[in-house]
Symmetry: C2
């Protein structure tokens, strides 16, 4: 038995489009920051008395429920992957809970599968390094889960199954940024990101995006190394627009932005004109991650919460990756 | 002295990006529908007693005001263009009024410069055919004004100065469509379309857009000929997204969409899922043109007006192009 906690992460350069659905390989490398306050906690207990895996999920502000359908299949398949590695066949009892809204563009599946990977490996007494854990987390199907394994600022490399791993490019304490998630829409997404990862290449703009991303990756690495918020911010806004442009121009088109998304985007641009520097980025959902210096966090958060489009905010700083929680009993 | 009335037009395939700023030549052909209810009425009187052109504009729901700055220059330059053609030097008194909100993505400058072109030509006793009038209207600087000269459904050809004219591809009575303009935002645009026409080619997606547009033009012509609303609607939504994608990815980015724009876009998609067929298209502004069969106009309009994001609606059918109004005195 083991318990792990893993963070959600916000991508500065997005993973969008899956090149190899069997090995969950992306078309491009991506860069993200792990969040210190949006966490999934997962306990895995292997019990020879079980006939089948028992998986219980607790969504944000909801009662626990048994996993069914596709989520159940995905967790079961990931348990199988790790059981095979350990050479065991025992079934497991899995309980997992989020402290933030799921399915709203806050990378809940990344946090979930990172925590599941680490807890399962520990419960099976597999002694795996971070690189191997990130590769396994990627194979879960939620590719960006690999970025929730190492600490702080993370790059997930494009490459073959061996090379496509996630590594820390700067520790959390390197740069005192804030990510304030402006929650504007609590409805579940109509189109899951998994489906859109398959549709991305139907966009006539997808090739151009891939070309641009190569240059943006270099610039974002440099912006992080030099703690250059203006450079980082310009890149992350361009990248999120580029990703959503791919969604909106694929067949059939998918529009994740909602009215609240646009309200926050325009507010941030107006505040920048007034001298308050923050930048927007949206993952596959309507909610807006607002990146700013930690020193401006209070001001930005207050302004966001005064917008009628914003239901509430979640404040994050750069945080560590997945880690085990010692047993207290 | 002569008075002309000219319609705004809604582009199904957008004019976006200016290839030749001197001759106002576009990068691509475009297709539009003239609107029967969004009109500009312009009177031009040449008076030898005048030392300078006197230009009075009456915006929607505002008192008349003398034109100043850039609008005054543009009208004066267009009067010069026609004076030169007629070989006269007399100054003119110009009065122009809109019956719809200006500068809100409803092609007010297209209607205005089409009416100005026709009224001025008539006041100067120039006997010009529709082709020549459309070429002159294009040269006004508001290129899409040329599409407000001929009747009904119109194509503006890409080409050199002689060939880049607008022609009717179907008369107004060919297809009983409705264009319901959902006005969500009455603020003037922050960035005029003239500036963005120059910036369009800085978008890395602009080349892809131009490639796509060639195919969409063929399909839209076919959809109009066959009165195929589903085909037309699919194309116009793809084209407006493509145009706004160019804006959002140019340097610097320009985001015309507002929260109300997204609210209407999502509502229209949801109504389609319920079986009510309508399609969105936005010109260079936040307001949404909703295209549907005239038989669904009442239903669509009622639903739009129930959305909190919609301030009011303007209903249009396909209409004639610019025409002279006989003197009643």
């Amino acid at each position: 038995m083991a318990t792990a906690v893993a963070p959600a992460n916000i991508a500065f350069i997005k993973y969008w489009g899956m090149r190899d659905p069997e090995h969950i390989l992306p078309y491009n490398s991506s860069i993200s920051m792990n969040l210190d306050a949006c966490l999934t906690t997962t306990t895995v207990l292997f019990d020879p008395a079980l006939d089948t895996d028992e998986i219980t999920l607790t969504w944000y502000q909801q009662v626990p429920h048994p996993a069914t359908g596709r989520p159940r299949e995905r967790v079961g398949a990931h348990l199988d992957r790790l059981r095979q590695l350990a050479g065991v066949d025992t079934r497991a009892r899995v309980t997992s809970q989020n402290n933030f809204p799921a399915d709203a563009g806050i990378a809940s599946s990344a946090a979930g599968f990172a925590a599941l990977t680490l807890a399962t490996a520990a419960a099976l007494n597999l002694d795996l390094d971070t690189t191997t854990l990130s590769r396994l987390a990627r194979r879960s199907g939620s590719g960006s889960a690999c970025r929730s394994i190492p600490d702080g600022f993370v790059e997930w490399y494009n490459g073959n199954d061996q090379k496509s791993i996630a590594v820390t490019i700067a520790p959390p304490e390197h740069w005192d940024l804030a990510d304030i998630v402006a929650v504007v829409d609590m409805q579940p997404k109509k189109i899951g990101s998994a489906e859109n990862h398959r549709l991305a290449s139907t966009s006539p703009y997808f090739g151009t995006r891939l070309y641009e991303v190569q240059q943006r990756l270099d610039t974002v690495r440099q912006a992080i190394a030099q703690r250059d918020l203006t450079l980082l911010g310009t890149m992350i806004e361009a990248d999120t627009i580029s990703m959503h442009v791919v969604c909106m121009t694929q067949t059939p088109p998918s529009i994740y932005w909602d009215s609240g998304t646009l309200a926050v985007m325009h507010a941030i641009r107006a505040w920048r004109d007034e001298g308050l520097e923050s930048y927007f980025t949206m993952d596959a959902g309507a909610n807006v991650h607002v990146i700013c210096a930690a020193s401006d966090q209070h001001d930005v958060q207050q302004r966001l919460e005064r917008l009628s489009a914003v239901q509430f905010t979640l404040v994050n700083r750069p945080g560590p990756g997945a880690r085990l929680i010692p047993e207290t009993s």
